[in-house]
């Protein structure tokens, strides 16, 4: 059943709230399972990381990692295949060496196990040695699988779940490789960017915020679209605690793209509704975006439909630093070891940067705790990283507008030969540094971007307290885009219905609906309530907009004239209004929901959405059209007379022959009405 859309940003109804609540609960349950799964994986990973961190923090490790990182970063703008090639040639050897240096303990365990087995066997025959080698290979293989491919599988699974991959059947092999390619690309990108351990993560402060966009859906899911045909899609967007960012507005947009030979043709949307959504409107609420697009002719008959949400966002993160006189720091460390800040100053040893929650996790770290002020030859370094933390939900950073670093008085950042590629900032004020104008990022940023700068404390301000605790603050202004994607397979021309021409009406009912008013009975008119609704009152604009859209767009079947189409929809309107007795009604007593197009929750319970008259009419029209085609319910009537087609469609529409008869009767009444008014066939 097609989903119904809400076009007007009103507060949700009680039913909608309950539905939202149910979805949130379900989401929490899924997250709970996911979290438990992740925790297990993290426990295993933590051990590896702890060993690897020790290597990273050693002076030898830091030097080695810098050497490794430079050639890898240089290749980041290359296409994936080239990047992989580049990585293999340029630095994969040393990278793997680095990556697995921390795993020496594990190798020891493997070898120890092998020798234990060898000793236990008490026979060092050549066959035993061969067995040991086999065991070793299997163990190594398992370890590689665990470390390398398990995270890949995770990323792949997450990406695929977003694109609905698992829900589809008969997915092509190329999809698998496309998704795997993206997963590997993201994984390699993250590992490359963070190879030297300079990807600190921050901790979100305040309420957690979030946004999701559902996978786009066709207004008529079971219709087969042709090339260059209008197609309507919609998607739901929902935010969590976005009220705090009430000044931000989301701009929805839609595109449809298809490969044409070596190039990709892109069609922008013909219409997007709504054109803007303030954050406050989707704070713990759902809104529907509706787009009309034109399909693209392509050899593969595959069109990709994207619904995107773009919005500007600003993430600010700040970190407490510790600064001390160098000689005093050295003495304190000598007297009380490295953790004197905790034992003697009651300060946290590893401060974490705090940021306002949003699409990006902005982490900052300083490599000296505390930073020494003196004649030291090893300057401190500040590193920070922008993690795309809504990547799982189909988000990415589309553009970084600015990055501002604010440092305390007496502190400056600088670029060294080691950090010049990673510190693209210039001084902009007394204590402020901004991103260089000519610095170019490689968009979109799907994973993480990190930066490293030298940090120098020239002087400690005049204070009596011997430990100075200034803050470094970094603000990133960026545009963020969230994307939902749908693949649409077009109907191939050779299988398309041949006739696009209007078929002359032959049935009695349809003849009655024709523009010819010779057989009109002006004494039998529609109920006054509906006539009033059509002519004036709250529903007038909505009904006429819906009818205009239905009659003049792709929804009108070729075998109906505009007047027949109009009368048919008005007939359905009367019938549906009579059905929905428990729905919200307008001042004239006509239910807002009139055409029977309802959305439904996952349990199959219908959800009646208010104020969607235009959508209801379109929905009814599309159904009538789509039922009469080769692959649908009325496929036997494809070549039948229009009257028979309509009868079948109406019966299928509501499931009862009596319904078709009733609608037919109402259609005749509307025909009489228009004849009595002597109006033309085009609805105003």
């Amino acid at each position: 059943m097609a989903r119904q859309q809400g076009f007007v940003p009103e507060d949700p109804t009680l039913e909608q709230k309950e539905q939202l609540h149910r979805e949130m609960e379900r989401d929490l349950r899924v997250r709970g399972i996911k979290n438990a799964f992740n925790r297990g994986r993290e426990n295993l990973g933590n051990w590896f990381n702890s060993v690897r961190e020790k290597f990273r923090r050693s002076s030898e490790g830091r030097k080695a990692l810098r050497d490794i990182r430079a050639p890898l970063i240089m290749g980041e703008d290359l296409p994936f295949i080239k990047k992989l090639f580049f990585v293999i040639l340029g630095g994969l050897g040393s990278y793997i060496l680095y990556y697995f240096t921390g795993l020496s303990v594990m190798w020891c365990i493997v070898i120890f196990m092998a020798f234990t087995i060898l000793i236990l066997s008490r026979r060092t025959t050549s066959r035993n040695i061969l067995n040991i080698i086999v065991i070793l290979i299997v163990l190594v293989g398992l370890i590689y699988l665990l470390i390398m491919f398990f995270p890949l599988l995770q990323v792949y699974r997450q990406q695929s779940s977003q694109s609905g991959f698992w829900q589809k059947t008969g997915t092509k092999v190329s999809d698998f490789f496309t998704n795997t390619n993206a997963a590997i690309s993201n994984y390699v990108e993250t590992q490359v960017e963070c190879a030297s351990g300079n990807c600190p993560r921050g901790e979100a402060e305040g309420e957690n915020v979030g946004m999701t966009i559902s996978q786009p859906q066709l207004l008529i899911p079971d219709k087969e679209y042709k090339e260059n045909e209008d197609v309507t899609v919609f998607s739901d967007v929902e935010g969590m605690n976005l009220r705090v960012y009430d000044e931000i507005t989301v701009t929805p947009d839609c595109t449809i793209e298809a490969k044409k030979g070596r190039t990709v043709e892109v069609n922008k949307s013909i219409a997007v509704q709504p054109s803007e959504i303030p954050f406050i409107d989707i704070s713990n609420k759902k809104r529907t975006i509706r787009c009309v697009l034109k399909t693209i002719q392509t050899n593969t008959y595959l069109n990709k439909i994207n619904i995107t949400l773009t919005f500007p966002f600003s993430t600010t993160s700040d970190l407490k630093m510790y600064v001390m006189d160098e000689s005093r720091r050295n003495l304190m460390m000598k007297m009380w070891s490295d953790d004197f800040l905790y034992t003697h100053y009651h300060q946290e040893l590893d401060p974490i940067a705090k940021f306002n929650d949003g699409p990006v996790n902005l982490g900052i770290s300083v490599n000296q705790i505390p930073i020494a002020v003196g004649k030291s030859e090893t300057p401190a370094e500040v590193s920070f990283a922008m993690f795309n933390q809504w990547g799982y939900y189909g988000g990415e950073i589309s553009k970084i507008n600015d990055i501002k670093i604010e440092v305390p008085n007496g502190v400056e950042i600088f670029t060294t030969t080691e950090t010049k590629d990673f510190c693209p900032f210039e001084k902009s004020g007394e204590n402020t540094y901004v991103l260089k104008k000519d610095y170019e990022f490689h968009y979109p940023i799907k994973t993480v971007r990190s930066f490293i700068c030298g940090l120098k404390v020239k002087n400690i301000p005049d204070q009596s307290f011997d430990l100075w605790m200034p803050h470094i603050r970094i603000t990133a202004d960026y545009d963020y885009i969230m994307r939902g994607q749908l693949e649409l397979f077009l109907k191939q021309p050779e299988t398309a219905v041949a006739s696009g021409a209007e078929i002359d009406s032959g049935g009695e009912q349809l003849q009655a609906l024709a523009a010819d008013c010779s057989n009109a009975d002006t004494s039998t008119l529609p109920d006054e309530t509906f006539v009033n609704a059509y002519e004036s009152g709250d529903l007038k604009d909505r009904i006429q907009t819906g009818l205009n859209n239905a009659i003049t767009s792709e929804y009108k079947p070729d075998w109906l004239t505009e007047a027949q189409m109009r009368d048919m929809l008005l007939g359905i309107m009367i019938e549906e209004s009579g059905v929905g007795t428990n729905m919200a009604k307008n001042a004239e007593g006509i239910p807002w929901h009139i055409a029977g197009c309802t959305s439904e929750d996952k349990a199959g319970i219908p959800l009646y959405v208010e104020y969607s008259v235009e959508g209801d009419i379109l929905c009814a029209a599309e159904r009538i059209k789509s039922y009469v085609r080769e692959s649908s319910y009325c496929k036997d009537y494809v070549n039948a007379e229009p009257e028979e087609k309509l009868n079948c469609a109406l019966k299928t529409y509501n499931g009862h022959e009596s319904y078709a008869v009733s609608v037919e009767s109402d259609m005749i009444q509307w025909h009489n009405y228009f004849c009595s008014k002597q109006t033309g066939t085009v609805v105003q």
């Binding site: 402060e205 305040g206 705090v244 600003s314 600010t316 700040d318 407490k320 006189d325 000689s327 005093r328 003495l331 000598k334 007297m335 009380w336 003697h344 100053y345 009651h346 300060q347 705090k354 306002n356 604010e406 305390p408 008085n409 204590n431 400690i460 204070q463 009596s464 307290f465 011997d466 430990l467 100075w468 605790m469 200034p470 803050h471 603050r473 603000t475």
Partner: protein, 332 residues
């Protein structure tokens, strides 16, 4: 009439014979006994017993200076760029006085001057010995701080830190039994029995003498001396510094040396005679504890044992830190 008289007489006699008269007598006795017991109990519990009286002793406890923030000062939440007060309660919980103690306040800042006025003050506080109560002198110091400016963030945590540096003393008066006999015979009756190891409780200061070991060193048949090994420990929640360098620890620009940490000067007397604690004269308890041996003058060997008092005095500097985290909120 007769009947009535008899009745009356009989009634009177009966009354006299009844245990009632006895009850009255006994209850009077009881009252006296109860009163006596109560007086004794009051007397006993009030500590006025002749033997085993609990006199007030200021040399108890392991605390020196106690630092606390005044309730809601600083408050839990302050608004960006607003001014707020920080109150610090200083209380001398040790036995002896603190003279010319130093207090400095530090706060996380972001390029702006956040402390109005001086961030360093000095203070004097007398101890329990002077106050003759279980609490020494108390004072409250106030500082005015300005919350830093928040721009894009809605809130931020910050920490107010307070540090105190002061010189302090520990005095331990320990009754000891000294026996200068070369070969003591257990059956021989003496004035007291010498213990070679004496464990001590705290002495009303953050640094304490925790153990005293007493050894006899015989130089010849006629000459001997006593050696007292004094174990010293930091029992407070701050850290010990050299009393000559205390001030440096409440200053950000003073140069520190290794010898500025953990040094405690030790002096001891035995019956008003100073013991020889050379060559060290001090212990280093920067890592927790240390010990030092002091010697008496050589004295003649005899068959006597006697009670005397060993007085140990420790001089040191002491540093305490206290901090409180508060939240700065953006005023929207």
């Amino acid at each position: 009439m007769k009947m009535r008289l008899n009745f009356r007489k009989g009634n009177f006699r009966e009354k006299m014979k009844k245990p009632m008269s006895k009850t009255n007598l006994v209850s009077k006795t009881n009252l006296v006994i109860i009163a006596l017991i109560a007086i004794c109990l009051i007397f006993l519990t009030s500590g006025c017993q002749i033997s085993g009286i609990n006199f007030f002793n200021p040399y108890t406890g392991s605390e020196g200076l106690d630092i606390k923030f005044v309730q809601n000062s600083p408050p839990e939440n302050v608004y960006s760029q607003s001014t707020f007060g920080v109150g610090v309660i200083l209380e001398n919980r040790g036995a002896l006085d603190i003279k010319k103690g130093i207090l400095v306040i530090g706060v996380e800042d972001f390029g702006e001057k956040t402390i109005a006025g001086n961030d360093k003050i000095t203070f004097d506080l007398y101890g329990k010995k002077e106050s003759r109560t279980y609490r020494g002198e108390r004072s409250v110091e106030f500082f005015e701080l300005k919350a830093l400016k928040l721009e894009s963030k809605n809130e931020q945590e910050t920490t107010v830190n307070v540090k105190t540096c002061y010189d302090y003393e520990t005095v331990a008066q320990v009754p000891v039994c000294l026996d200068s006999t070369i070969n003591p015979v257990e059956s021989e009756r003496k004035a007291c029995t010498m213990r070679e190891s004496i464990g001590l409780s705290y002495q009303g200061a953050p640094v304490a003498v925790s153990l005293i070991e007493i050894n006899r060193i015989f130089k010849s048949k006629e000459k001997m001396q006593f050696a007292f090994t004094l174990h010293v420990r930091n029992v407070g929640d701050g850290y010990v510094v050299n009393p000559d360098s205390t001030e440096k620890f409440c200053s950000s620009d003073a140069k520190l040396n290794e010898s500025d940490f953990g040094r405690v000067r030790v002096s001891a007397t035995l019956a008003f005679k100073e013991l020889d604690c050379t060559p060290r004269k001090s212990v280093d308890i920067s890592q927790g504890d240390d010990f030092l041996t002091c010697y008496t003058e050589e004295m003649p060997v005899s068959n006597n044992a006697y009670n005397t008092v060993l007085n140990v005095k420790l001089d040191y500097g002491y540093v305490n830190l206290q901090s409180k985290t508060l939240k700065i909120l953006k005023l929207s």
